[in-house]
């Protein structure tokens, strides 16, 4: 059995087993041990996917089936390639950070949190690995439901409004996606990726049949996944959900859920239907508007988490722009940006948690000069924001560069120029937050402040190391992808 087979088995088996143990354990014991147990799932996932990344360099693609016959008509088939492995790695990394934060910010219902988190991991891993659109939908629903409960379960914080908004929008998106799937099925007669792909290819060109049906399906699916992504104009739920969620859940939501539930859907769509006229332009427009509008909204906020949430909206725009090119370079740029965004956005929410735990507020107007008392938080937020703004040598620069190059190669130089210059808005809101929170004179009321300790601090250190290392070592990543034959 090859390493990669263990990889793909482990990413399902470990969270499911932990979930089971979590349910079977006596309540008291589960409350105590569940978070510790939960660490296992992301750790295994990170190691397994890293090993898989080493092996996939020779294999290119690997297919496998769980329980069913690979050739059978009703089997759920799974496949991994290098991009899904990178996404799996991101899932592992962000959930690890989220558990580390939760260890501090989730005082009760720890067993419930851990259980839902395991479900969420299974859902996300499933989405990335399935090879037909219907299974994709099923796992998407698992992700949607478990993240709704995660947002809502700590309602003591600020009430249910954000969670409720998320539920409504999420269900709406699911209905749209499901209807879109039905239309695709009517058109193509199959939901298997390879057959859908072939049918999608046949749709291009003059005299193609039933295009209206196909475009309706596309409109529904794009709208649905855009809601899940939080792209403008479907973004309004995202900041509210973040504000009312526990910060550990925020790490999950912005760090990975919107990318797997939303962006991965776009990856699938563009992969099969990207050549339909108009799809690329639609994505590029949604992307550009998200970049600019998200960043402008972020400039006006004074709630730490809302700034970071709007920043997510803006960054999702870059990923959509990368996908809109339809080229491999664009896809690579988008996936690289998913990775980088997973890192720096988790860092920022971890920092939000640290600042809130130590000062009791998220309002940046009440903060000032924290860098002296909280050097780790301060430096990690600096690195993360620099990475967000695409300032080299931090990692975000490279993925943005790849996206810009892909746009330029496909002739969309207007979008490339807008995307690049819009980075300045990112720099602007980040400078504002830095000035108000960290960089500056320490306010007198914070004279007794101390740095956060324990797992949150380690999460910050881990993520910052990843951000800086990814930035400095990115040329090696390029060589890796070049070696596989992707570039």
């Amino acid at each position: 059995m090859q390493v990669i087979e263990y990889t793909t088995l482990l990413v399902f088996a470990v969270p499911l087993v932990i979930l089971l143990i979590n349910i079977l354990l006596p309540r008291q014991l589960a409350e105590k041990s569940s978070i510790g147990l939960a660490y296992l799932a992301p750790l295994v996932q990170i190691v397994a996917t890293a090993a898989g990344l080493v092996q996939i360099a020779q294999l290119k693609q690997h297919e496998f089936a769980i329980s069913w016959n690979l050739a059978g008509a009703v089997s759920v088939r799974f496949a991994v390639n290098v991009f899904s492995l990178v996404l799996l790695f991101c899932i592992g990394m962000v959930t690890l950070a989220a558990i580390m934060v939760a260890n501090r910010t989730v005082p009760q219902k720890r067993a419930g949190f851990a259980g839902l988190l395991m479900m969420l991991i299974v859902g996300m891993n499933g989405m990335v690995l399935v090879t037909d659109l219907f299974s994709l939908y099923v796992f998407l629903e698992i992700v949607g439901i478990s993240s709704f409960v995660l947002i809502a379960m700590f309602k003591s914080d600020t009430g249910l409004e954000g969670a409720f908004k998320y539920l409504v929008m999420s269900v709406l998106a699911s209905i749209m996606i499901l209807t879109g799937l039905a239309f695709v099925f009517m058109q193509t007669g199959s939901l298997q990726y390879d057959q859908v792909g072939a049918a999608g290819g046949a749709l291009v060109g003059p005299g193609a049949p039933h295009l209206a049906l196909m475009y309706t399906a596309m409109a529904l699916m794009i709208a649905g996944f855009a809601i899940k992504t939080g792209a403008v104009p479907f973004h309004s739920w995202l900041p509210d959900a973040h504000q009312s969620a526990n910060t550990a859940v925020s790490v999950l939501l912005s760090g990975i859920v919107i990318k797997i539930a939303g962006i991965y859907g776009f990856i699938v769509i563009t992969n099969f239907f990207g050549r339909l006229p108009g799809i690329d332009l639609t994505l590029a427009l949604i992307g550009t508007v998200s970049i600019v509008v998200g960043a402008l909204f972020a400039l006006r906020q004074s709630h730490f988490k809302r700034i970071v949430a709007y920043s997510s909206v803006s960054q999702m725009g870059y990923i959509l722009l990368g996908l809109s090119t339809g080229s491999v370079l664009g896809l690579l740029g988008a996936v690289a940006h998913v990775f980088n965004h997973a890192t720096f956005k988790s860092t920022l929410f971890t920092n939000a948690a640290a600042v809130h735990e130590q000062t009791g507020t998220y309002d940046i107007n009440e903060l000032g000069g924290l860098e002296k008392k909280m050097p780790v938080t301060s430096f990690s937020s600096l690195a993360a924001f620099m990475s967000t703004a695409g300032i080299p040598p931090f990692a975000g620069f490279w993925s943005k560069l790849l996206i810009i190059m892909a746009l330029w190669n496909s002739g969309d130089w207007v979008f490339a120029a807008i995307a690049l210059i819009a980075s300045i808005f990112t720099a602007a809101y980040f400078l504002r937050l830095q000035r108000k929170v960290f960089f500056g004179k320490l306010l007198d009321k914070f004279a007794q402040l101390t740095e956060i300790g324990g797992s949150v601090k380690w999460a910050q250190i881990m993520l910052t190391v990843v951000t800086i290392a990814a930035g400095l070592l990115f040329p090696f990543a390029l060589r890796y992808f070049g070696g596989i034959g992707i570039l």
Binding site: P392, I404, W413, A416, I424, L431, R432, R435, F439, P475
Partner: protein
């Protein structure tokens, strides 16, 4: 000497800088010594590379990456010239800093950022790839941002943010231009695309970067405001080294690598002329000692840009010499201003006067550096200024030559005014020589260098003409 000397030159200050905060926690003296050693290493290594480079065998390192993103360093005469100039002034400024900032908070960050900046500068001058040039360019902006905000006052942080935003906007527009070059040539490697003709729109995009970093009109605004930084920072970043990045890239790209349209040999000098006159005019009206010198920097940078963009060999030679002379002399002026500010705790020249009595050495050093900036023979600045103006006139632009001569006259006026107001006249305060010996020695060294470089002009100009000949 192998090419590895380049890696040492870049990596020691670049990565060494991150050790400084750790050393600072152990022992302050150790940290200071390490900062000095790292900076001096850059100078020594650049000097070690000199003989071979002068002998006509440039050193190079090259690693191929996908997508035309090669990674490499290349030391030709131009690069080594810039590296030597920057690291020499930087070393002196680090020594000066030991005394100047010893009583403030955040020293660990200060030395880290200064040292990181030197490493960045070395990386930038030796890089052979547009993307890596951009990377180093932006790291220098980060250093600049942290260092301007050194005092952590509300106003200093706003000014730091302003400098960061302006230079980053310029750099981003420049990056669009770089990607445009990539679209045309399929590579970011400078050697691979040598001699390519660049369309005008790409040149204009890159000029945004050059003008913002080198604080030239209309993107000059951040530089005078950046004077809220500690004086050694102003001296290092905003007079001697950082602001030369823009003009260096102009020389590297538009003189050394690409062919550009003839129209830019007129258009860029006109921008430079406006910049020189406007800022010289403002310098005549300001009352803040550091703002006067900052506006003077803007004005002098325009002279450098003029020389490099004149399209004549003699002008380019003048521009390069100007980079050296201005770095030394203007660095010295800011350091003198630092001593004055340190002593009187004010930057307002209307509250100064008669300081010559209390601090004769500083006054003399100031005067020497000012002479060099004014272009009084035999100080170094004279030769550079002469060659630059000769260059533009021999290119046929007598009118522009006249404008710049007017600019040079204004330089004499505002620097004389500054010197008279600060050092001569009625004594308003009884300041003794309060600058510590180390600080005074640093400015004296720079003043002596200003004279020495002028008297032995055959040496730097022979050096610079090798670059001109290479072009």
């Amino acid at each position: 000497m192998g090419s590895e000397v380049l890696l040492v030159c870049i990596c020691v200050p670049l990565f060494g800088s991150f050790l400084l905060p750790l050393l600072g926690m152990i022992n302050i003296k150790l940290r200071n010594a390490a900062a000095l050693i790292f900076t001096a290493t850059a100078f020594v290594c650049a000097a070690l590379a000199l003989p071979e480079v002068l002998a006509g065998t440039p050193l190079s390192l090259h690693y191929e990456l996908p997508l035309g993103l090669s990674f490499g360093f290349y030391a030709d005469v131009l690069a080594v010239f810039m590296a030597l100039t920057s690291s020499l002034v930087a070393t002196i400024i680090v020594i000066y800093s030991f005394e100047y900032i010893k009583e403030y908070d955040h020293q660990n960050e200060y030395y880290m950022m200064v040292c990181l900046f030197i490493g960045t500068m070395m990386g930038l001058v030796f890089s052979t790839n547009l993307i890596f040039i951009y990377i180093f360019w932006e790291i220098s902006a980060i250093c600049c941002w942290r260092l301007i905000g050194f005092y952590r006052e509300e106003i200093t942080i706003r000014r730091a943010n302003k400098a960061f935003i302006v230079t980053v906007v310029g750099a981003l527009i420049m990056l669009v231009g770089f990607v445009g070059i990539y679209g045309q040539t399929g590579t970011f490697d400078l050697a691979a695309m040598k001699g390519t003709h660049l369309p005008a729109w790409i040149v204009i995009l890159i000029l945004f970067g050059v003008l913002s970093k080198s604080a030239t009109f209309p993107l000059h605004n951040w530089l005078p405001d950046a004077g809220v930084a500690p004086s050694p920072v102003t001296s290092l970043l905003h007079a001697a080294v950082l602001v030369k990045i823009g003009v260096y890239i102009y020389a590297r790209l538009f003189v050394n690598s690409f062919e550009i349209d003839k129209v830019f040999t007129v258009a860029v000098p006109i921008i430079a002329a406006v910049s020189a006159l406007v800022s010289a005019g403002v310098a005549l009206r300001e009352n803040d000692i550091k703002r006067i010198i900052a506006y003077s920097t803007i004005s002098q940078l325009a002279f450098i840009l003029l020389g490099l963009s004149s399209g004549t060999e003699i002008g380019v030679l003048g521009g390069l010499l100007y980079i050296l002379m201005h770095s030394v002399a203007k660095g010295g002026l800011f350091l003198c201003a630092g001593i004055v500010e340190h002593t009187l705790h004010t930057k307002d020249i209307t509250k100064m006067g008669g300081l010559y009595k209390g601090m004769p050495l500083t006054a003399l050093a100031f005067l020497f550096c000012a002479f060099s900036v004014m272009g009084i023979p035999p100080f170094g600045g004279f030769f550079a200024k002469y060659l630059v103006i000769d260059g533009i006139i021999s290119a046929g632009n007598v009118g522009l030559g006249a404008v710049f001569i007017a600019g040079a006259v204004m330089t004499v006026l505002y620097l004389s005014r500054l010197f008279i107001k600060v050092f001569l006249g009625e004594t308003v305060s009884d300041a003794r020589e309060a600058g510590s010996p180390v600080m005074v020695a640093s400015v004296v060294v720079l003043a002596i260098l200003s004279v020495a470089l002028g008297i032995s002009i055959h040496w730097p100009s022979g050096f610079a003409s090798l670059i001109g000949g290479g072009i």
